[in-house]
Each structure stands twice: as structure tokens, then as C-alpha cells.
Symmetry: C2
Subunit: 255 residues, 2 copies
């Protein structure tokens, strides 16, 4: 049976999603919990990797199992074997050809920023604390240049193995809530570090280090040296993965 899990994790204490030798990862913890629950050694596929320190509320994972545990009960069993900072929020049977990775039609990430003279203890794990007040209108003006189908090479970390750097960003929504600013980016796929570079670039515009026009030109020039720094991981959270193009369209996420 193919199983689809929706998982949430506080990425603070992990070396990201993907298994590696020199850090504890979410994939490793999840596969260990599956082994403890079913006796099976499986390899899980996530919708995409998340980096060290990045969080997820709606990461989707798929794997194949012969367990007799009904798919919808698996979340409860797995959670008894998972550390508190990783939880399976939902488990369900999926079509035999379902792949969390290759079936993904779109994703929404949120980047969270706290603005204040001092960093905020209650937001330090989940927000990037900056000590200036960005101009949100300038950030929104810049966001309009990012939305659409572009070659996003200017927003891609070097060392990426992506075949093409063309992606479609459906929406970049920026809103403030008290001393915090949230950037929600929805697209059909993202390059390595793309959302963190978008966040770093929008912040740079908000605090006057770049102009909206300079970012527009950086996109055109496909030049990573002209965009902002990669914002730190703790501000990033994978909110949702979409597997149905109709659902994306219904939310207004289309080209």
C-alpha cells in the first residue's frame, strides 16, 4: 500500500529533511518511527528537501508499506515513536503511483520576520529578527516583478543541480501583524534557497539597500550577485504542498 503523510516539524534541532551522515535529520527520525511501528525498513520521499533549521507545517511524504495498520491509523502509531518536534498530522492511503515529490504541482512557503530593536525570545525559533522597520509598500512593489514565469537564476544558490532555472511564482503575499512581517510565496516549484533569497531581497528593498527597479533588472540579468543575501533558515516554513492543479486555481494561484 502507498501511504501519504502530512508532517509538521520544528526544524531547529535537525540538519534538514534529507538523511546525511553528520547530522540528525527528519527523514531519519521518520524512517526509524516507521521501522519501530511496522518492522519495515522503508525509504520515504518528501515533496522536497528542507534545509537545516527550516520548519514545515505541511510537508508531504510518501512511502510503500506492507503493514496491516490501516493507513488512517498510522499517524497515531508513528507519533508514539517520534520526538515531540516531529508529528505526523495526517496519514492516508494514496494511489499506487502517488509520489510526494513528482506529484507536487505547487507549494506555499512562509517567511516570518520580527522587527524590533531587540530579538524576540518567543519568536526566535521561527522568525528572522531584524532591527529595522522595512517599508512594506516597497517590498510589495518589488514582489510584483517576482510573480510570473521567469528564469530565476538570480534567486538560485550556486551549486544547484536544477536542469532549468525557469519557475512560475503564482503569488507573493506580504502582510504585517503587530511587529512581524510575513512573506508567503506560492509557486509551481522552487530552486535551491530560492524562497530565502526572495526574502533576503525583499528585506533589502524594504530597508533601502536595493530598489524595486534594481531587483527587476537583476531578474532580467539572471544575476545572483545583484539580489539580496540568503535570509536565515529559521524564518522559513513549508506551509502547504498542492497535488491538484484545480485546488491551486481555486485559490487563485495560476499564471
Amino acid at each position: 500500500m502507498r501511504v501519504r503523510l502530512t508532517i509538521e516539524y520544528d526544524g531547529t534541532n535537525y540538519g534538514g529533511w534529507q538523511r546525511q551522515h553528520n547530522a540528525v535529520t527528519v527523514q531519519e527520525k521518520l524512517e526509524e518511527a516507521i521501522f519501530a511501528s511496522t518492522g519495515e525498513r522503508v525509504t520515504c520521499t518528501a515533496s522536497g528537501r528542507t534545509d537545516a533549521g527550516v520548519h514545515a507545517m505541511g510537508q508531504v511524504v510518501s512511502f510503500e508499506t506492507n503493514t496491516a495498520i490501516p493507513a488512517e491509523k498510522l499517524s497515531f502509531v508513528l507519533n508514539t515513536h517520534l520526538p515531540e518536534d516531529i508529528r505526523v498530522m495526517d496519514s492516508a492511503a494514496a494511489p499506487g503511483d502517488f509520489s510526494a515529490r513528482f506529484g507536487a504541482k505547487g507549494k506555499t512557503y512562509r517567511y516570518s520576520i520580527f522587527c524590533g530593536r531587540h530579538s524576540s525570545p518567543l519568536r526566535a525559533r521561527t522568525h528572522y529578527c531584524i532591527h529595522v522597520q522595512p517599508d512594506i509598500e516597497k517590498m510589495r512593489e518589488t514582489a510584483r516583478f517576482i510573480v510570473g514565469t521567469h528564469d530565476f537564476r538570480a534567486f538560485c544558490a550556486s551549486g544547484s543541480a536544477a536542469k532549468t532555472t525557469v519557475r512560475t511564482v503564482y503569488a507573493v503575499e506580504i502582510f504585517s501583524e503587530g511587529p512581524c512581517i510575513y512573506i508567503e510565496v506560492t509557486g509551481n516549484g522552487f530552486l535551491y534557497n530560492m524562497v530565502r533569497i526572495i526574502a533576503g531581497t525583499l528585506i533589502a528593498v524594504g530597508i533601502g539597500k536595493l530598489t524595486p527597479e534594481e531587483v527587476r533588472r537583476a531578474i532580467e540579468a539572471r544575476d545572483r550577485t545583484l539580489t539580496g543575501v540568503t535570509a536565515p533558515p529559521q524564518g522559513l516554513c513549508l506551509l502547504r504542498v498542492y497535488y491538484d492543479e484545480r485546488e491551486l486555481a481555486e485559490r487563485g494561484y495560476k499564471e
Copy 2:
């Protein structure tokens, strides 16, 4: 000089505000930071104690010092000596007779609840995770009985040394945000555990264990055995302390 600090803390790792022998407390960490910054051993006064595990965004603290560091620079100096989960967000000189405790005219607390089948890793430090969906309208109906000047003995933990159990609650605001419910309570003062018992009681009504009418009668009877359990500490956060009655009134917080 009398100094007024506004501090924020993640209470997870502390035995509450007040110094004690068998736990690390916020007061101890703050007084150590003051000693490291000024060389003076002072005793800080907070607007009120917070229990073990309870958080604060706007706790107010006062103390007397002879330091040459200007009051408004103290926050920056103190923060270099504080652990990351405690931060002085603001420091200012205050009138010589200012007392964070005796000058407090009112306080707002927030109680945060996450509702879902599984607990939420990203909210586990700051929300009480419950596995049912409460009826918010029933909670609001009950909140109306709590607002006003009452003898709140039914919402006071035993062992409280309060001279009188009469308090005025100006407002109980309940709102939902996605899978979360927030209860914000503003009053002129609170008995020991009062906000956590209000939260536990409103949740009990929301999930059908108590009726609004039963809570109304419990208040009248001043009977702690008729109200709900004390909700756990991690959901509670001291948001704000008011020292100016005019400010309270301007926000609509009055009898």
C-alpha cells in the same frame, strides 16, 4: 535612578518569575545580568509573578540603580548578559516612586490553544494542544458572565494569600485563527491561576463538559469545585501591563 524595563521571555525552561531555591528563574537571570552590567546587587520587582512555564511578551520590571549607564541604553547592555530566551525589549527612566507591582492598573493575558488530532510541534511551546474542536460561540456566551466585577473565588487556586477575591475583568476576547483559538483576558488584577482556570473553564464549556449556565452559577456560588481544571502553563502569556487608567479606558477596558 528608578528604571522600568519591559521584558519578554520564553518561560519553557524557567521555574517562573520569582527567585526560588530549587529552580532557575527569570528574576535570578535578570538580577545576574544587572550585576554583570552594573556591579550592583539589586532586587527587581515585577508587575506580578508568572508561574513555571508561563511566557511573557510585556512583563514590566522596576528596580533602583546608581549606574552611570543611561536608562535607555540599559536594554542593550543587559541583553548581552541574558540567555537568548529572556530579552529586555525596552528600558527607560521612571519616576522615583514607580513600582512595577503597585503601580499596575491592569493586565492583559493571552491563552493560546491549538486544536487538532495531533499536537503541533511548532506551537507546542506556546499553545495548549487539545484534540477536539470547541464551540467558540458557547465559549463567548460564557465569557459574558466572567466580564465585570465579581468575587472570583471560583477561579482562584487554593492556597492563594489574596486579601480579597474580588476583581474586575474588563474584557474576555475569544478569536480563532486557523486551527488555533486565542482567549485574551484583561482585568485590573488576577488571582493565583485565575486566567488558567478561566481558560480551562471556557474550554470545558466549548467541548460540552460544562454549560454556560453552570459557569454562571459557579461564579455566584464562589465554588472552585464547579469550574474547569487549571489549563496548563505553556498556553499562557502575559501580553501587557497598564500603568495608566486613561490608556485602559481608551482601549475600551473599563467597567
